[in-house]
């Protein structure tokens, strides 16, 4: 009967329902957006293995920010992160693998072979194992001990002109690093100093000398938090070689005296070698736990390890931070959508109050025919709930339509970006049911006042109403 009554006033019911639909769609899309963004982020993190990853820092001094950036170099307080510590951590239960991680200095710029444009080279080294393996857009992860091989981030691939569909073509291409001036590490043989005369110029020339070092691209790492910038990855083995410093030093006291005075005379010299990585240790360690459930436990075990004072960053810290951001965002956006629902509820009240005026006589007749006050009240409440319910249903229908379309374009985009995700827009069931329930309740509440008005009408007056 309620449905019939709505149908009779098609246009007005339609308009009122549309208002609810708009409100519902607003709430649904905005919330879906946040939920989708959040879930895509999680999926991506999960795919990248970040959720099972613990970052170990040399000290447990708090590091601010969700990604804890800015401490990967040296100069950090605390213990030296070296292979003995790695071995100790590897023995902790639920640890799958441990990798050192460090920035590599020595290479200044990089270009693709056959091109001229140079980019600054930011190298990060990891041990080639399960702890540091990432999700590849193209190519593969490192094998143990590989040198002269690089994995590049998508940022570089794009700069080199390889994007989306042709990204796989970059695999096997060569990049050429240009070293910093006076580089003396991997691949460099220190020239023999001249044995006669004033060699100031020769030394200065040596200190300005740069070298070109070739490397093959074996993989392109998927972009994600922390890996979407200019990053080039190499193995720790190669990093060791690159970061070995060698220089000529005077052999014996007499020579050292001269050197202090800046006199470039020939004197007996020897080559001194320093392994920088051995000396300083790794910038930090990446520990892979066997599951997302054990990751927090692993982190706390590492912190307690032999009172070394190691610091850890778990995805939990990051997730908490993210969750906060997404929750706030969700509340704000849903509230904005909620405003249109509130407006829609005013529309329902208006429609139903008008209906009680117009249908006063009808109400009188129904009362004369034996309808109770409660029957009238229920009828009007039912009509209002129905407006809310239909509005919610249609809103959800529209949402699913939009999701279909959105996913078609979304999948296309994801494919082009080589992100291995599909149908990322996935409105949760609780949201759709919740919105239908919510609009129905709003309709019911909006209908209460008009319904009580209708029920209160004196049947005699109602029948006399013109």
């Amino acid at each position: 009967m309620a449905l019939g009554n709505l149908w009779r006033r098609k246009l007005r019911s339609f308009l009122t329902i549309i208002a609810v639909v708009i409100g519902a769609v607003a709430v649904l899309t905005l919330t879906t957006l946040v939920v989708t963004a959040s879930s895509v982020f999680m999926k991506q993190l999960d795919a990248m293995g970040i959720l099972t990853q613990v970052t170990v820092t040399p000290s447990n001094v708090e590091v601010q920010g969700p990604f804890g950036g800015g401490f990967m170099g040296d100069g950090e307080e605390g213990i030296k992160l070296d292979d003995t510590i790695i071995e100790k951590i590897e023995k902790i239960p639920h640890v799958v693998a441990v990798s050192g991680q460090t920035y590599v200095r020595g290479f200044k710029s990089v270009r693709l072979e056959g091109t001229e444009k140079k980019f600054s080279a930011q190298l990060q080294a990891n041990h080639a194992n399960k702890a540091s393996d990432g999700t590849m857009v193209a190519g593969r992860n490192f094998l143990q001990g590989e040198k002269n091989k690089v994995i590049i981030g998508q940022w570089y691939a794009k700069k080199f002109g390889f994007e989306e569909k042709n990204i796989a073509n970059i695999i096997g291409k060569k990049v050429i690093f240009t070293t910093e001036e006076g580089f003396s590490g991997y691949g460099v043989d220190l020239a023999q100093p001249p044995q006669e005369g004033n060699n100031k110029e020769w030394w200065e020339e040596q200190n300005k000398k740069t070298y070109d070092i070739e490397a093959e691209i074996v993989g392109v790492l998927m972009s994600g938090p922390g890996t979407d910038g200019p990053e080039i990855y190499i193995t720790m083995d190669w990093a060791h070689d690159i970061m070995i410093r060698r220089w000529w030093e005077a052999d014996g006291e007499a020579g050292k005296e001269q050197e202090k005075k800046g006199i470039y005379e020939p004197w007996p010299m020897i080559i001194v070698t320093e392994d920088e990585l051995d000396k300083r240790g790794y910038g930090m360690l990446i520990v892979r736990a066997d599951s997302t459930q054990t990751v927090v436990g692993v982190a706390s075990d590492i912190e307690k390890l032999e009172n070394l004072g190691l610091g850890t960053i778990t995805p939990q810290d990051m997730l908490d931070e993210l969750q906060k951001i997404f929750t706030v965002l969700g509340v704000i956006l849903t509230a904005i959508g909620g405003i249109s629902l509130a407006v829609a509820s005013l529309g329902i009240i208006n429609t139903m109050v008008m209906a009680t005026y117009e249908r006063t006589r009808e109400i009188g007749v129904m009362r004369a025919c034996g309808a109770r006050r409660s029957t009238i009240r229920n009828l009007f409440t039912m009509e209002a709930s129905l407006i809310g319910f239909l509005g919610g249903m249609i809103g959800v229908g529209i949402l699913f339509g939009m999701v279909k379309i959105g996913n078609i374009y979304g999948n296309q985009f994801l494919e082009e970006q080589n992100i291995p995700l599909q149908n990322i827009i996935d409105p949760p069931l609780w949201l759709t049911l919740g919105v239908i329930g919510f609009t129905t309740i709003i309709g019911t509440i909006a209908g209460l006042y008009p319904a009580f008005r209708a029920a209160r009408l004196n049947p005699v007056d109602a029948l006399r109403h013109e």
């Binding site: 009967m1 009779r8 006589r361 009808e362 009188g364 007749v365 129904m366 009362r367 004369a368 025919c369 034996g370 309808a371 109770r372 006050r373 409660s374 029957t375 004196n458 049947p459 005699v460 029948l463």
Partner: protein
């Protein structure tokens, strides 16, 4: 179903003054009787009819229907009474313009929670009883005044009422249709032993009644 009215008073507030629309009505209506209520406009005829029909309640006094006092009854009981025992016929028909004749007749049956199939069957029977078996799918707008009043009579019959209250049922009809409608009501009353209460200005109708109650200023002036 005998109806007994005891000193019925109905007071309305008009501005700052109280006005007694009914001022001590005492009367008895016997089971199956045909009563005509007459009186000038504003004399309280309709108020009386509404109180008998359970649409309104008296300010004081008692009204016994079948020995049961309905003057202080709750909405629930009164609604049930209107639904099951009383059929109303109005001067202006009061049909739902968007419903077909059939749907209009089915309305009271909805409130007595009759199932759809039984509801239809009963409504069809009622429409046939008033001679509108061929007009069931028509909406009131497509029917003549006489036919509309027949629909409204059919509606009043839907729940097999024991009382039919017709408030100037022929007020909007020409004399030929009036005669037909009154004849129909009388026929139904005889067939089903219904107490028939008609409010009217028409002396012809009054003459056909078993009894005439004449009301003026809320009081019974004379009764025949």
């Amino acid at each position: 179903m005998p109806i007994e009215l005891q000193s019925i008073i109905k007071t309305y507030r008009m501005g700052s003054e109280n006005f007694n629309a009914l001022d001590g009505i005492t009367a008895t209506i016997k089971d199956g009787e045909f009563i005509a209520i007459m009186g000038p406009s504003g004399s309280g005829k309709s108020t009386l009819a509404n109180i008998i029909g359970g649409l309104d309640t008296p300010s004081s006094g008692k009204i016994f229907v079948n020995k049961e006092d309905i003057s202080r009854a709750w909405d629930r009981a009164l609604s049930h009474y209107r639904n099951k025992k009383v059929g109303f016929v109005f001067q202006t028909f009061n049909l739902q313009p968007h419903y077909t004749a059939l749907e209009n007749v089915m309305l009271p049956l909805i409130f007595s929670k009759v199932r759809l199939r039984a509801r239809k069957k009963k409504a069809v029977a009622c429409l046939e009883a008033v001679g509108l078996g061929d007009r069931m799918k028509h909406k009131p707008g497509e029917l003549s005044g006489g036919q509309r009043q027949r629909v409204s009579i059919a509606r009043s019959l839907a729940n097999n009422p024991e009382i039919i209250i017709a408030d100037e049922p022929t007020g909007n009809l020409d004399s030929k249709r009036s005669t037909e409608i009154i004849a129909l009501l009388k026929k139904l009353r005889e067939e089903k032993n219904i107490t028939l209460i008609i409010i009217t200005h028409d002396m012809n109708i009054a003459h056909q009644a078993d009894r005439v109650i004449y009301i003026q200023d809320g009081k019974i002036k004379k009764a025949r």
